[in-house]
């Protein structure tokens, strides 16, 4: 079974508003797929439907090839952490994991200590959950996901609240789980630079629709270069660019900065065009986009 998660025309409507428009998505074995979108784009709603917390308005979900009631068995092979993980505040980490160990039918009690060790909480196992920092809570959430030795992890903002050291640890942990234990991962985060270091595939979601789906290689190709100009009159420069190149893709950023995503090879020509028409070009740079900038170019900004 190469496809772990498959959705067909999956849809969610709240109060007549389409949060997720009919959406086809598949996650293949071995991938680390990053789901990227602004707040309200539908990421968490999508994750919650996968987890069974929200009922889809339409469409179908298959997990490990199973759908409907049979999917319950597939979920035993998955670990979900959607938004902030919830635990009993008065229980210690060990007691909380013991509750879920019993519930999930994990036979070996020592698995609790193994997962606490993996997420770096072994020394904090006797501390009560309510006394945990946000980062520790996130780690315990990941420990819970790992408790049942899953084949696939679905993590919504797993590095939320972690310090820099914690972020690196969790990134390395996820990479290790993917590479050594072949665990497939679907992850979202607002820290896009982290996703760029982690993911092998990038799915961009906007207003409940997948607007782009790229492998790491494709993203590298697509985000190779852009021209960035700082001019004295951005409005005039925009007009000139539009007149000269009908299909030009650009956006105007604050401080009279213009970034141009296509016709990158004509950088010199663009520079001369602006200067000859009285626009002062104060800075001219050719640069590669990172994931954050690619994302902004895709879903935000003053794009043409």
């Amino acid at each position: 079974m190469d496809t772990i998660i498959q959705t067909y025309q999956l849809k969610k409507t709240f109060k007549e508003e389409d949060i997720i428009k009919p959406l086809d998505f598949s996650l293949r074995k071995g991938e680390i797929c990053a789901l990227i979108g602004k707040n309200g784009a539908g990421k968490s709603t999508f994750f919650k439907m996968l987890a069974g917390q929200l009922m889809p308005t339409g469409g179908d979900i298959h997990l490990f090839g199973k759908s409907g009631k049979e999917m319950i068995h597939s979920k035993k092979r998955m670990g979900f952490m959607i938004e902030t993980p919830e635990f009993f505040p008065d229980f210690t980490a060990t007691q909380n994991l013991e509750y879920f160990r019993i519930q999930r039918g994990v036979i070996e009690k020592k698995r609790i200590y193994e997962v606490l060790q993996i997420v770096g909480l072994a020394n904090q196992k006797k501390k009560r959950f309510k006394d945990y920092s946000m980062g520790m809570k996130q780690r315990l959430g990941i420990a819970l996901c790992l408790l049942g030795s899953p084949d696939c992890l679905v993590l919504d903002e797993p590095i939320n609240g972690l310090d820099a050291e914690g972020i690196i640890e969790i990134r390395n942990l996820l990479l290790r789980l993917n590479q050594e234990k072949q665990i497939t991962i679907l992850v979202s985060s607002h820290i896009l630079t982290e996703l760029q270091l982690l993911a092998t595939r990038f799915v961009f979601i906007k207003n409940g629709v997948i607007v782009d789906d790229l492998s790491k290689e494709n993203l590298n190709d697509k985000s190779k270069k852009q021209v960035q100009l700082k001019v004295d009159d951005a409005a005039k420069a925009s007009r000139l660019l539009e007149q000269a190149y009908a299909d030009i893709q650009y956006k105007v950023l604050p401080n009279h900065i213009i970034t141009i995503q296509n016709h990158v090879e004509k950088g010199g020509e663009i520079n001369r065009l602006l200067v000859d028409n009285g626009v002062l070009v104060m800075e001219f740079r050719m640069e590669a986009l990172n994931l954050e900038e690619y994302f902004l170019g895709l879903v935000e900004g003053n794009e043409k």
Binding site: K48, G52, Q53, I72, F80, F88, Y99, F100
Partner: protein, 249 residues
């Protein structure tokens, strides 16, 4: 389901609030008996140092017992419901969650009711002046009360699982178990065929049960069971059905 029941039982056993509530209930029963006994010892003419009066406090406190039921149900349906999302994610069905929480909290509630009942009889018969048939009257009245109280427990469970606020639940309980009889009598008086419906209202039945007990005329009556079963079945069916389709957010 067995695994879920076991995990919830683990949770319950580690819950201090539940044990404290149980102890408080039993201590209050013992304290009431002690006060009556002490008053009877101090004043030979004190008329309430009897087991019948002692028992009547329970028979007349149907709504209070339902409030205690609320506290027991809350042990697994209060803040703990925020963990349901994780259980659902890991493949536990909503039906399993709904019924498991009900079975466990109800079991604990019934256990404490049984202990309370035995404690009352023990104290009533040994400390207070007892009449020949007082235990039989008490048990008969308790059996009549049982389906009504349990139906209250089911209503509480359903409303908690459907995430109704605690204030709304209390108002609903007061309406059903205190005011329903009078309201039905007033509203349905002009409607032929329905004007007798108030006799089946929980509040009417609880009052009747108390009066029969005080008049030493109490006996098993199927009306209590009809009302209790109708309320229980309806509330559980609607609750389980709605919970199975509910978003857990």
């Amino acid at each position: 389901m067995i695994n879920y029941l076991k995990s919830e039982n683990y949770r319950l056993l580690h819950k201090k609030g539940l044990h404290i509530t149980s102890v408080i209930c039993l201590v209050l029963i013992a304290a009431a008996a002690a006060v009556l006994y002490y008053s009877g010892q101090q004043d030979q003419n004190f008329p309430y140092a009897t087991s019948l009066f002692f028992y009547s406090n329970v028979i007349g406190s149907g709504i209070l017992i339902i409030i205690v039921a609320f506290l027991f149900n809350l042990a697994l349906t209060g803040k703990d419901t925020s963990l349901i999302k994780q259980s659902v994610s890991f493949g536990v069905s909503r039906n399993t969650i709904f019924w498991s929480k009900l079975i466990l909290t109800l079991s604990y509630f019934l256990a404490i009711c049984a202990v309370g009942l035995l404690l009352m009889i023990g104290l009533g018969e040994n400390l207070l002046a007892s009449e020949e048939q007082s235990v039989r009257y008490f048990l008969s009245a308790s059996i009549n009360m049982f389906p009504i109280v349990i139906s209250g427990f089911f209503i509480i469970h359903v409303l908690k699982m459907l995430r109704f606020g605690e204030v709304y639940i209390i108002i609903t309980l007061l309406f059903i178990f205190i005011f329903s009889g009078d309201l039905l009598r007033m509203l349905l008086r002009p409607i032929s065929g329905l004007n007798e419906l108030y006799k089946y209202a929980p509040s009417t039945l609880l009052n009747e049960n108390l009066m029969s007990f005080l008049n030493k005329a109490v006996q098993f009556d199927y009306h209590y069971w009809v009302t209790g079963i109708v309320i229980s079945v309806f509330s559980l069916l609607i609750g389980a059905r709605k919970f199975a389709k509910q978003n857990i957010n």
